[in-house]
Structure formats: structure tokens, C-alpha cells
């Protein structure tokens, strides 16, 4: 079987699975899987860039995805004017002071000769800076959070179209990645894995705690949409007529229409990114990246700045994850910090990349769709399995109840199993790198 046939065949299989869902369950479920599949594919593409082409082990994908989500809030939500008036400037000033403290510390570190005096000065600068920062910042935060806390209590966003948030989400993630990469890749031996693991938790902690920024655990809901609202469609006589002509119930038609519109937008992003990724990898830059990956010593001897290249690809890959994060928050229409779980947003993406085929962009995309499909469908399958297994037991028997309840956790088990099976028997993934 040639590579091409295999690729087409596997993608066709995914298509059949999703379309099958449409026929067996509902078209709404099918489109839901498709949409999140598209987003997952984008994430997998980003991670594949880092792992597949540079061997960088990023376990903080969740953090970059969440930053993308934050971008959606910052860009698209209407600004809360009272909050800005109450403490917006003060918070910004506080943040600037905080940044200045860090810059000041670094400058002091560089300017002074090593020794006790430097250490004391550094601690002094940090301490003074921290307390000044907190004094200015806390007051602003309190003022902002006091503004109508039940519905607002945060600065709001810029009120721009939400689509702008997608590239901004990428930029935000790229910025964070740059800081992480600069520190973790610059050390004598690299510590990227633990650094990314840490930063992801920190990003989530910020989202949960900084109410002035994104309302914390009170969540931001009702994000503006790039596509029409179902209710507007249902009130549009032209749409209703067309739906009836097609023989579809207008309410269903409106939900399908909205989801399809999202699918189209996501598909455009995925295709553009995929084409860019493919072209980049067949460009001299891509060849250099692979040369570094396959023989770092030789590449270094030829004068390649390996750390800088690694930083570059790490930032790019994280930016793609950020874009995906912004897309996802747009689709959800809300930012719920507690929903960011490492298993779902970091390690599941890893399963996608490994199963799909490390180092192969199409493989990553395939893995994104396939694993997402399974992630969604394993639960009903698990429930069915448990029902079959327990069908002989009497109603209300503790083991029966326990097993039915536990069916929801089958998906974690299944994902692990799939990962281990692929890693063992097909370590290059479904679509291996050429």
C-alpha cells in the first residue's frame, strides 16, 4: 500500500466515522465532533512542529491554549467603562511597575560585579519593587472587582470582532513561549519539559485568580460570535423558508447552520496552517531544522545557532496552540478556567501527535480528528459495554451501579491503551514521517 493510498484511506475512515455519527446519532453531534476535531488538529499541528521537527517536549500545551482563550475575552468582550475608570489605569501602572522591577533586577544583575553586595541589592530591588507593585496593583484590582461583581467586576475587552482574537491568541501564546523558551532552552542543558509543565499551571492559576482580567472562576460568558445566532436565524423568514424547502425543522437547521459556519472558519484556519507548515518544512528553513534534529553536533559545527532555532520553532508551535485556544473559546462562547485540565489539553494532544505520526503534519491532523472522535465516542461505547456487562445483574445492585457510573472514566483508560499500543507496535504512528 503506497503512502498516498494509506493517507487517503485513513482520512476517508475518519470522514466515514464522523458522517456515520451523523446518521446514527445526530448531525449536531457529528458537527460538534468535526469542529472540535478541527481545533484538535490545529493543536496537534503545533505540537508536531515542536516535537516532530525539533524534538522539543512541550507538556504545557494547556497553558498556551488557555492564553488563546484569554485573548478571545480581551479582544472581543465589550470594555467595562466603569471598571476602567475605577482602577484600570492603576492596574496597568501596577503591571508596568512589576515589569520594571523585573527588568531592573536583570539590569542590576548585569551591571554589578558578583558578590554579596550584588545579592543584597538584588533582593532589595525585588522586595521594594514587589511591595510597590502590590500597593499600586491591589488597590486597582479591588476597585475593578467591586464594579458590579455579579455580572462584571473585570476590565472587559476591547470590543473588537472576535476573529481578531485568533491571531492575537497566537501572539499571546508566542510571547509566553518566548519567555519560557529563553529561560529553559538557554540553560546549560535544557529543562523545557518541567518549565512548560510549570507555566501551564501558572497560566491557569492566573486565569482562575485574576478576576479583574477575566472574572476568574466566575467565568466570562456570552462572547460575541463570528457567526449568526440561532435565534436570529429562526426569526429570519427567508431562512425558515429555505429550511422548510429542504425538509428540515427550522430549529435544527439553525443549529446546523451555525455549526457549519464554524466548521468552515476552522477549516480555513487549519488548511492555511497546514499549507504553511508543509511549505516551511520543505523550505531551506525546514531542511535546516531537520538537519539540527538529526545531528545537532554537525549542525552546530556548520555554524547553526541551535538554541535560537529551537526557540524559534518552540514559539511558532506554541503560537499555533494559542490560535487553537482562541478558536475553541470562540466556539464555546465562554471562558471557563476550571475546564482547563492537563489530561484533556496537554496529554491528549500528545496522544494525537504520537498516534497520528510524529514528524508528519498530515499525521498530526489525522491524529487530531481520530483521537478526538474516540475521546467523544468512547464514553457512550463504554456505557453500552457496561450495560451489556451488567445486564445480568439486578437493578440497584451496587456493582452494577458502580460500573455504570465508572463508564465515564473508560475514556482515559482507552486513550492510554491506544497510546501504548501505537507506541509499541507502530512507533512511527499511523502516518509515518517520510
Amino acid at each position: 500500500m503506497s503512502d498516498k493510498v494509506k493517507t487517503i484511506g485513513l482520512f476517508a475512515l475518519v470522514a466515514v466515522l464522523i458522517i456515520g455519527t451523523g446518521f446514527v446519532q445526530s448531525w449536531n453531534s457529528a458537527l460538534l465532533i468535526l469542529n472540535l476535531g478541527l481545533i484538535s488538529a490545529v493543536m496537534a499541528l503545533g505540537v508536531n512542529l515542536q516535537w516532530g521537527f525539533a524534538g522539543l517536549f512541550n507538556v504545557g500545551i494547556m497553558g498556551f491554549v488557555a492564553l488563546g482563550g484569554l485573548a478571545a475575552v480581551i479582544v472581543a468582550m465589550p470594555p467595562t467603562n466603569e471598571a476602567w475608570a475605577a482602577g484600570g489605569i492603576r492596574v496597568l501602572l501596577g503591571l508596568l511597575l512589576g515589569a520594571a522591577t523585573i527588568v531592573g533586577t536583570i539590569l542590576t544583575y548585569k551591571a554589578m560585579a558578583p558578590g554579596k553586595i550584588r545579592n543584597i541589592t538584588l533582593i532589595g530591588v525585588l522586595l521594594v519593587g514587589f511591595f510597590v507593585f502590590r500597593t499600586v496593583f491591589d488597590g486597582g484590582v479591588e476597585a475593578i472587582e467591586a464594579v458590579n461583581p455579579s455580572v462584571s467586576g473585570y476590565l472587559g475587552g476591547l470590543g473588537l470582532p472576535v476573529l481578531i482574537a485568533w491571531p492575537i491568541g497566537g501572539l499571546l501564546a508566542a510571547g509566553a513561549a518566548w519567555i519560557i523558551g529563553k529561560t529553559a532552552l538557554g540553560l546549560r542543558s535544557d529543562y523545557l519539559a518541567i518549565a512548560t509543565l510549570g507555566i501551564a499551571e501558572i497560566v491557569i492559576a492566573v486565569l482562575k485568580n485574576e478576576d479583574w482580567l477575566s472574572r476568574g472562576v466566575k467565568n466570562v460568558i456570552g462572547l460575541p460570535r463570528p457567526v449568526p445566532y440561532e435565534i436570529d436565524l429562526q426569526n429570519d423568514p427567508a431562512f425558515v423558508e429555505r429550511a422548510i424547502n429542504l425538509g428540515v425543522d427550522p430549529v435544527t437547521a439553525s443549529t446546523l447552520y451555525v455549526k457549519l459556519a464554524y466548521s468552515a472558519l476552522f477549516a480555513v484556519v487549519l488548511i492555511v496552517l497546514l499549507i504553511l507548515a508543509q511549505r516551511a518544512l520543505h523550505s531551506p528553513w525546514g531542511r535546516m531544522m531537520r538537519a539540527i534534529r538529526d545531528n545537532e553536533v554537525a549542525a552546530e559545527a556548520m555554524g547553526k545557532d541551535v538554541t535560537a532555532r529551537h526557540l524559534q520553532i518552540f514559539v511558532l508551535g506554541s503560537a499555533i496552540c494559542g490560535i487553537a485556544g482562541a478558536m475553541m473559546t470562540t466556539l464555546d462562547g465562554q471562558l471557563v478556567p476550571t475546564s482547563y485540565q492537563p489530561l484533556r489539553f496537554t496529554f491528549l494532544v500528545w496522544v494525537m501527535v504520537i498516534v497520528g505520526g510524529s514528524g508528519n503534519n498530515l499525521g498530526a491532523v489525522l491524529g487530531g480528528f481520530l483521537i478526538w472522535f474516540l475521546w467523544v465516542q468512547v464514553e457512550p461505547i463504554g456505557l453500552w459495554l457496561m450495560q451489556t456487562l451488567t445486564s445480568g445483574m439486578s437493578e440497584g445492585y451496587w456493582l452494577r451501579d458502580h460500573m455504570l457510573e465508572g463508564a465515564a472514566h473508560m475514556r482515559l483508560f482507552t486513550m492510554g491503551l491506544i497510546l501504548l499500543l501505537v507506541l509499541r507496535f507502530s512507533p512511527r504512528g499511523l502516518l509515518p514521517e517520510k
Binding site: S189, L197, L343, M415, L417, L420
Partner: protein, 336 residues
């Protein structure tokens, strides 16, 4: 008097909790560092191994409780602990058999083992949630306190109370015993030394007739025991929840790396460094400062440097600072 009160408040809210938490982290980090030293990869499934061992212990605890067995003033879980360890050992050895052994035979690169450990993490996570559910479980019984705040106040006449939970006492005592045993084993016994030798230089260990499979087996035994003990102590002190245990991975990794991966001594030091900094930075210092400073300077706010939700950020910041100045960790990460 105020100074004494300040010291008591400090011990009550900072020192004692940090020592207990540090001991738990240290035991967790020891497991990570042993796997890193001997099998040469960071085990992402370690948090879930802890969860598995703790879950098994809880189930045995329940069984003992329903059979009417108790351990007097001590938690019944301590009686169930050996059974929990045994269950965890079985699970871990089965995993090694089915998953990791193959990669050793094909001489796979350590990073492949890291990826395999991701799969194991998912599976353990799923199993634990399937068996005991994702919810919080409290399983501490027996005496709650060695000394309560009220008793302490009555005893000393101080304004501040000092409460010592029995779980904290048990944590520290158990950790000291376990660590002493482990160090004795690694430094004094033939098998322990062979583990260190294997970690240091695999080829030469082979030439010396050390059987790698035996070394790996013993390592998993120890790691399963350490993980279960760490998990049970943490669960007794706080509570058991699968997701919390999964999240412990970050502070545990941070401890192991701060101390110097592969160095048991470092793992312990790292555990305490991380625990103390977390508690120090997220503690509201108002009370302690209130005793220490003259009334006019008494702080009005809570004097909490960071909200408790940022404790992960603290682990991480400490990690970065240590790595910037000592790239191999506090104790040169080398030998097990």
C-alpha cells in the same frame, strides 16, 4: 511574650504544615528520582501511581473498618498500608512487564519511555477513577490531634495556640523512618549499592555481573512502596482526590529537579525547599507580624505575598531560580 506568641503562631501556621507537606513531597520526589536514576526517564505516571497505592490502601482501610478492626488512636489506614503497598507493587510490576520491559530490551531512548509513561498515566488515572470515583475521600480516623490549640494555650498560658495534628506527626515520623531505611539500603546493602552502580554506569555494572533486570525490579518495588506511603500520608493529612494527586506531579518534579535529579538526598532537600517556599509565600503574615512589630507598624492587610492558588507558581519560580544558578540542582544530580 509577644515574641513567643509570634514563634508559636509561626510554628502553627507555617513550620508544622510545611514540614509535613515537605516530607510528603520528599517521599514522592524520591520515587521520581529513583526511576530517573535507574530507568533514566521521568515517570509522568508517578502522581497516578501514588493515587493507585492510596486508593488500594483506602479500600483495605474500609474493609478493616467494616470488619471492626481499628488501630486505637492511630489511623486504621496505617494497618492497611502494607496491603496497599502490596497492591501497588503488583500493579507497578505488571506495568513494567507489559510496558517498559520491551523498551529496555530494544534499548529504546529514554524519551520513548517518557511517552510510554504518559500512556501509563492515562491508564492508571482511568483505573483509579473507575474504581473509587473522581470524588474526594477522607479516610483518616483515630485521634485527630496530638495536641490541640486549646490544650496548648492552657498548658503554656500563651495567647496563641499550637495544634499538632496526629496526621502531621505520623507523616514526619514515617518519613524519617522510611528515608533512614532507604539510605541504609542504598549505601549499606549489596543490592542497594548495585542499584547505585547501575545508575552511575550501566555498562560497567554489566561487566561487574550486576543483573539489570533485578536492579529494575528492586527499584520498582521501592518506588511503589514510596509512592504509596507518600500518597497515604498526603491523603491522611489532607484528603484523597485523584485529580489532586495528578496535580502533585508538578511540585514533586520540581522537588526532584531542584534537589538534582537522580540524587536521593537532593530529592529530600528539594521537597522541603519547595514546601517551605510554597507555605511561606502563600501564608498571611498579619498575625505573626502583629506580634513582632510595635503597634504603630501593625500591618492592616493580610500581608500575604501571593494567594494560595499560586502555590504552583512558587514551586516553579524556585525551580527556575535554582536552575539559573545551579543547573544540576542543589545536589549534583548524578548518582542514585
Amino acid at each position: 511574650m509577644d515574641i513567643l506568641n509570634a514563634i508559636v503562631a509561626l510554628s502553627n501556621f507555617v513550620l508544622i504544615p510545611a514540614i509535613a507537606y515537605g516530607s510528603q513531597l520528599a517521599l514522592g520526589a524520591l520515587g521520581v528520582t529513583l526511576i530517573y536514576g535507574i530507568l533514566r526517564f521521568s515517570n509522568f505516571a508517578h502522581g497516578d501511581t501514588m493515587a493507585f497505592g492510596t486508593m488500594a490502601t483506602i479500600l483495605f482501610t474500609w474493609a478493616l473498618q467494616s470488619a471492626g478492626v481499628s488501630f486505637g488512636p492511630l489511623p486504621t489506614a496505617l494497618l492497611a498500608l502494607p496491603f496497599g503497598i502490596a497492591a501497588c507493587v503488583l500493579a507497578v510490576l505488571a506495568t513494567d512487564r507489559v510496558v517498559y520491559k520491551f523498551y529496555r530490551e530494544v534499548k529504546a531512548k529514554p524519551i520513548i519511555l517518557v511517552m510510554a509513561s504518559l500512556g501509563v498515566m492515562f491508564i492508571f488515572n482511568g483505573i483509579v477513577r473507575f474504581i473509587i470515583g473522581p470524588d474526594e475521600q477522607r479516610f483518616a480516623d483515630g485521634e485527630r490531634f496530638i495536641i490541640t490549640a486549646r490544650e496548648f494555650r492552657e498548658m503554656t498560658g500563651l495567647q496563641e495556640g499550637l495544634a499538632l495534628k496526629s496526621t502531621q506527626g505520623i507523616t514526619v515520623v514515617t518519613a524519617v523512618i522510611v528515608v533512614a531505611l532507604l539510605f541504609w539500603f542504598l549505601n549499606r546493602t549489596r543490592t542497594g549499592k548495585s542499584m547505585r552502580a547501575y545508575s552511575d554506569n550501566e555498562d560497567l555494572a554489566l561487566l561487574s555481573g550486576i543483573n539489570p533486570e533485578r536492579v529494575v525490579l528492586v527499584t520498582w518495588l521501592i518506588v511503589a512502596a514510596l509512592a504509596t506511603i507518600a500518597g497515604v500520608l498526603y491523603g491522611l493529612d489532607k484528603s484523597f482526590k485523584p485529580f489532586t494527586y495528578f496535580q502533585l506531579l508538578l511540585p514533586i518534579f520540581a522537588s526532584a529537579i531542584v534537589g538534582g535529579l537522580g540524587s536521593p538526598l537532593g530529592a529530600i532537600a528539594g521537597g522541603f525547599v519547595i514546601a517551605f517556599s510554597e507555605v511561606f509565600v502563600t501564608y498571611a503574615w498579619k498575625k505573626v507580624l502583629g506580634y513582632m512589630l510595635p503597634e504603630s507598624l501593625e500591618p492592616s492587610g493580610l500581608v500575604q505575598l501571593l494567594s494560595t492558588d499560586y502555590k504552583f507558581a512558587v514551586s516553579f519560580a524556585i525551580l527556575l531560580i535554582v536552575l539559573l544558578f545551579k543547573p544540576t540542582g542543589l545536589f549534583k544530580g548524578k548518582a542514585v
